[in-house]
């Protein structure tokens, strides 16, 4: 390798070059105020960049500890959030019971809908509670806005239920506080539409009257508001069929209460 191409003279030359340039900048800054300001500004810029970079490097190596602290804080916040959520959930469930008034002879179990179908003629829903939580077959499912379904089958931790939006489901409804009773069924079209069937013609009502659960069935407690009565249609000249606008919005069901008549089995034994 030629002498000129070896690395040591290059390093020496580079070192001398840097020293000479520094000396030149010193000369320049001492002898011209404009250049002095310019060099000072450039030096501050370089210092800022260098110190900024070192700070970034230091921050990078601190990331592990910061991550651990954040994870710990995240865990604590999550626990705290879970506590608040549980309390809120309990309050919501309580309010459902309070809204309808707990009726003697019925058990109330809070549950959450984890799956629901809406676009079929035989819609269903699945709840996150099963027989280990006290859920039994033929239990009613209600919310603060009305009736939403009937439990059909239960496993240990889940329950399968028919939604009210199911052509096989009918519940006993009553017009007003002390009006006629009939069978309330989904109209099969609207998400909040129902029909109160088999209402005797002699019973008068006003459009806008509230329809309640009658309490004649073993599944639902009485006096749960279901919806508002609309127009009527005479069927076979014998009964009225009244259109009902339900209070319940089936697109926004999440928290429900499962109600079970404690006398259900005893009454069923009569074989009525």
């Amino acid at each position: 390798m030629p002498k000129e191409r070896s690395i040591l003279p290059r390093i020496i030359s580079a070192a001398i070059f840097i020293l000479m340039e520094i000396a030149a900048l010193q000369l320049l800054s001492r002898n011209a105020s404009l250049q002095q300001i310019w060099i000072a500004r450039a030096a501050h810029g370089v210092m800022g960049t260098v110190w900024g970079s070192t700070q970034k490097i230091a921050n990078y190596f601190n990331l592990r500890k910061i991550n651990e602290d954040l994870a710990k804080e995240n865990f604590e916040l999550r626990e705290e959030l879970d506590t608040y959520r549980s309390e809120a959930h309990a309050r919501r469930i309580d309010s459902l019971g309070i809204a309808h008034g707990r009726v003697q002879g019925f058990d109330y179990v809070p549950a959450e809908v984890i799956k629901i179908s809406r676009n079929k003629q035989h819609n269903y829903m699945i709840l996150n509670k099963g027989y280990e939580d006290g859920i039994q077959e033929k239990s009613g499912i209600i919310t603060r806005s009305g009736v939403v379904g009937i439990v059909d089958a239960v496993s240990a931790h889940h329950a399968y239920a028919f939604s009210f939006q199911n052509s096989d489901i009918s519940i006993s409804g009553r017009l007003g506080e002390e009006g006629a009773t009939g069978l309330l069924v989904w109209d099969g079209v609207r998400s909040n539409g129902a029909i109160l069937q088999e209402v005797p013609l002699q019973y008068k009502y006003e459009v806008g009257d509230t329809v309640y659960t009658s309490g004649h069935s073993l599944v639902f407690p009485p006096d749960i508001p279901l919806g508002l009565a609309g127009d009527a249609k005479v069927i076979n000249g014998a009964t009225n069929e009244i259109r009902v606008d339900l209070f319940q919005d089936f697109t926004a069901i999440r928290y429900v209460t499962v109600v079970h008549n404690t006398a259900f089995d005893e009454v069923e034994d009569f074989g009525l």
């Binding site: 030629p2 000129e4 003279p9 070059f17 000479m20 030149a24 002898n31 300001i37």
Partner: protein, 170 residues
């Protein structure tokens, strides 16, 4: 040209540069300098660090004895000395170093010599104009000054090459 006579001519050209700085103020846009080509013509056998010392001293003397700012020519001329051999290697190839010869117009061709002059002049002027402006002049002024000074400097440098280039010194 012998080594001693080269440096005598070099000293005389340094004086000429001082005279140019003091008496040939053509325009604010033109900064005439023959210092880069003087450093370029320093014999190749002179090590780079020595060339840088010579360049430092030359720039310092010119700054000190002319109306310029002390340190300005030094700042711009030392980088020329630092990259001088690399420029020569880039333009003329490594044969000059292998044969331990200096470049010359007749031997290496006018085009190559012109290219080398342009490169060192451009480097010198880029630093000089930038540092002289100290961030206070608009970019357009700096660019025009750089371009005009480069043209003028290259033309004058061709005359200096005629004096300092080895084959013209025989």
């Amino acid at each position: 040209m012998r080594k001693n006579s080269f440096f005598l001519v070099y000293l005389l050209l340094t004086v000429v540069q001082m005279l140019i700085c003091n008496y040939f103020n053509l325009s604010p846009y033109v900064m005439l300098s023959i210092l880069p080509v003087m450093v370029l013509c320093i014999p190749l056998r002179v090590p780079t660090w020595v060339t840088m010392v010579i360049a430092f001293a030359t720039g310092f003397v010119v700054d000190l004895l002319s109306e310029g700012i002390l340190g300005l020519n030094v700042l711009a001329l030392v980088p020329v000395a630092f990259v001088r051999k690399e420029v020569i290697r880039l333009i003329f190839g490594g044969e000059l170093f292998a044969r331990k010869e200096d470049f010359a117009v007749r031997k290496n061709g006018f085009g190559m010599v012109l290219m080398a002059i342009i490169l060192v002049q451009a480097l010198f002027l880029a630093i000089y104009v930038w540092a002289d402006g100290a961030g206070t002049r608009p970019l357009s002024f700096q660019a025009i000054r750089f371009g005009a000074s480069l043209v003028a400097g290259v033309l004058v440098s061709l005359l200096v090459i005629g004096i300092l280039a080895p084959d013209t010194r025989k």
